[in-house]
């Protein structure tokens, strides 16, 4: 941690000559009697991307974003200002602006800063430098060749590679000092397959994590994305119309865990529950899932896309059991909502950038494994849908209605997987969908590192996971009935 702090200081404070006494002065403006405190969030993010299309790497981009966000809190009120100029004068100006939220405008003093405990879930590497430019180009080309090599019907391939090197530092009026260096890499392959009759379909696959680009070379991960994207597109060429109506749905392991993210995850974020606007409000301690269903949000998984050593308020992340054996146990909290609800923060305070306010957000959300063999689960269904790949989802927090859209699915007939069907949206009711889980597989898997969650206009990287699940009664939005 000391070393991370030192590095963060070098990146964020030293170039502008910001000193400890500057920081004390700024924090002091947020520590007066008219406020409940405040915090500073320094961020420097360097981002690069490369895109291959039509067999050539035709685009590359590089972006630098830096700034500091200043938040002042008074009861449940928040004042917020930010500046992209990390310098004593502009920082003080932002602080004076933010603290206008308070009742009076006196300065206060801040306790001696102490470094917050933090995990070491990833190395403080700069992913952009983990491969040289030529090797990045070759990686993209290798995936292109791999996808095209799968089948002559693969007609279009787009491969992208992106990396972020992010350095953050959080200081608050309670004396917390935290820093984190967050690498993040991502690759994606999107293909179009076209058959002789001119029918076209698409497939996509990808992955990533908090590590360097070497991740994509290990275990042929990158090549695996190319094969997977091609497989999906080819499969969809043969897909028939999806069924319409309510039926038994078997969800595959891994990425289909987006179900949990939408159906219950958002509804268990502390802000909605403090305000009483969630369909789960007031349901703590009640049964919201079938016995045997346990769901956690775990920001401490090594190298995962949704993991953080500390959250964006300087709280160490943790593994929080949201639902234990079917009973609602815990909400996910940032500091503001935890304080107002008289609960402890859970390391879920996250923000898209210094220019956005933190709020309770998920990290890696998944369901623990159960006793059933996946084959046994499929064999148990006489007629239903087996959905193994999904696009995005969305939820109405208040009514609890959620959707997630299948991109690879099959009919189950007589306990056997028969034909592939076209993509369709699945819709359900968050507070009761998990009570319909009748079998939980023994094959817990996490997604490959592709998730991005949007809330109130802010995007953050997240992870999901689950074992194979049988859900008795989800509505499938196909066209065939």
């Amino acid at each position: 941690m000391t070393q991370t702090l030192e590095t963060a200081r070098q990146h964020l404070l030293d170039p502008s000559g910001l000193t400890d006494s500057d920081l004390d002065r700024v924090l002091g403006t947020l520590a007066g009697p008219g406020l409940d405190g405040g915090d500073l969030y320094f961020q420097l993010a360097r981002h690069e991307s490369w895109v291959l299309e039509d067999g050539i790497v035709k685009e590359g981009g590089y972006n630098i974003e830096q700034g500091v966000g200043v938040r002042a809190l008074s009861g449940d009120k928040t004042g917020f200002a930010y500046t992209d100029e990390i310098a004593p004068a502009s920082l003080m100006e932002a602080a004076m602006t933010a603290r206008a939220i308070g009742r009076d405008h006196q300065d206060g003093s801040v306790p001696v800063r102490r470094a917050a405990p933090a995990h070491r879930l990833y190395l403080p590497v700069d992913p952009l430098g983990t491969l040289d430019e030529q090797a990045k180009i070759e990686l993209l080309q290798a995936l292109d060749a791999e996808a095209r090599g799968q089948d002559p019907r693969i007609s279009q391939v787009v491969v992208s590679l992106a990396g972020v090197h992010e350095v953050v530092m959080v200081l608050n009026t309670e004396g917390t000092l935290a820093a984190d260096i967050r690498p993040l890499v991502r690759m994606n392959v999107h293909v179009i397959a076209e058959d002789r009759e001119g029918r076209r379909e698409q497939g996509s696959s990808g992955g990533g994590g908090r590590t360097g680009y070497g991740f994509f070379l290990e275990k042929e991960r990158g090549l695996g994305y190319a094969r997977e994207a091609a497989r999906q597109a080819l499969l969809n060429l043969d897909a028939v119309d999806a069924p319409a109506g309510t039926m038994t749905v078997v969800l595959g392991s891994g990425w289909p865990g987006v179900l949990l993210h939408e159906a219950i995850g958002h509804g268990l974020e502390g802000d909605f529950n403090r305000k009483g606007t969630s369909a789960f409000s007031g349901r703590m301690g009640q049964r919201v899932a079938a016995p045997g269903v346990t769901v956690v949000d775990d920001g401490t998984l090594e190298g995962r896309r949704g993991s953080l050593n500390v959250d964006d308020e300087g709280t160490p992340t943790q593994s929080t059991t949201l639902i234990e054996d079917g009973v609602l146990k815990c909400f996910m909290q940032d500091r503001l909502n935890a304080r107002l609800m008289g609960l402890a923060p859970t390391g879920n305070g996250r923000r898209e950038s210094y220019a956005h306010l933190p709020m309770p957000r998920m990290t890696n959300t998944y369901m623990l494994a159960g006793p059933h063999d996946p084959a046994e689960i499929i064999a148990s269904v006489d007629k239903g849908l087996y959905a193994v790949n999904f696009g995005g989802g969305q939820v109405d927090i208040t009514s609890g209605k959620f959707v997630f859209s299948a991109s690879e699915a099959y009919l189950i007939e007589g306990g056997r997987i028969t034909r592939p069907v076209k993509g369709a949206t699945l819709i359900g009711n968050g507070p009761d969908v998990l009570t319909r889980v009748s079998m939980v597989g023994n094959d817990l898997d996490l997604d490959t590192g592709v998730g991005t969650c949007g809330k109130e206009g802010q995007s953050v990287p997240v992870g999901v996971g689950q074992p194979t699940l049988r859900v008795d009664g989800l509505t499938v939005g196909g066209t065939s009935h």
């Binding site: 050539i56 917020f80 696009g391 109405d396 009935h481």
Partner: protein
Amino acid sequence: MSETTTPALDEKDLEAIVGQVLDEARRAGATSAEAGASQDAGLSVNVRLGEVETLEYHKDQGIAVTVYMGQRKGTASTSDLKPASLREAAEAACRIARYTAEDPCAGLADAALMARDYPALDLDHPWGLTADEGIDIARACEAAARERDARIVNSEGAGINSFRGTAVYGNTHGFVGGYATTRHALSCSVLAGDDAGNMQRDYWYTVARHRDALEAAEAVGVEAADRALRRLGGRRLSTRRCPVLYSPDVARSVLGHFIGAIRGSTLYRKASFLVDQLGEPIFPEFVHIHEQPHILRALGSAPFDNEGVATQARDLVSGGRLESYALDTYAARKLGMQSTGNAGGLRNLTIDPGPMDFEQLLREMGTGLLVTELIGHGVNMVTGDYSRGAAGFWVENGEIQYPVEEITVAGNLKDMFHNLRAVGSDMDLRGNVRTGSLLIDGLTVAGE
């Protein structure tokens, strides 16, 4: 309440910055280059249950530079507009361009297409909204919603924001142009509850370039409340095929899919269900869809596109036939066509209203589903397959019967376009897509 004191950059400042970065790009070896710089500042206030919840002061700036070294391309962007950072950005873009491949279609838009004498579109109407004023307006808005009915049991609050931004684009053809725009918005979101403890949330908003064009705060609050109230008691439907009437605010998304399908980048990748449909009937004959980039004060208006190409009013669908794609320079070259001035998207896409208002459309539909909310992303642009979560109302004999929820509507966009029976006169002008209600036959509704 204090305001930020750092002086705003005006058009001239940003022009100078763009000029600097283009010079740096040339110095670093670029054969041509283009850059866009912008600065936005604004205030947003949220009030919940009568009290201030958040007060946010925004100020964002940035520049993006694209360089070409022959036919190789690189881009870089930074939020820091100081000279050293401009040089770094230009150099970073050139560094990247040394590794990207020769692409015969890469490059600036044709010099002949640059906007020369472009119109002033009356888009800049600063409000000078103070925090105290914003708090008063948001409070009035939320109060109107909460006082509407005893069944309004909770609130997500009301928010107002006011932004002013200046953007300048320039390239090494010698084109440089910029203008300032303002955008003011007020929204409200409340929860209705019934005796059984069920809750429904809905919202309403108003947005405009000029504060005088905003709906009254009380009207926004009342509409938000009424929308939440009418959803109480939502039921499911059995699975069926029926006509669907999209209210204007959700009809916008259907036209959004049309835009996605005629965009150059999806066409040249053959990732659109409208590939090779130019000149073909894709809607019924009565349908006229056009782009109107020069409407004064409109939210989508722009005198030139993101490559400096002059925008112009033109038909996209006329007599039901697809007349034009929406192309930027790169896609146009890939397709062997010319830019249509759509780098950065379409501007004020309008589908002409028909003679029937909303009530008449309900009667025209007779029995079917009125959709007022859509969730999820279940649209496959390659095939046109469409499947989205929905909420709305079941309609019989032209009359709303009861609210419905937890259903999906599904079909294929190609069929949905052909099966468009009517466009309402109830135009929603709050965005870049301007449409009335859309009545579409033959969708599958999945439910119980």
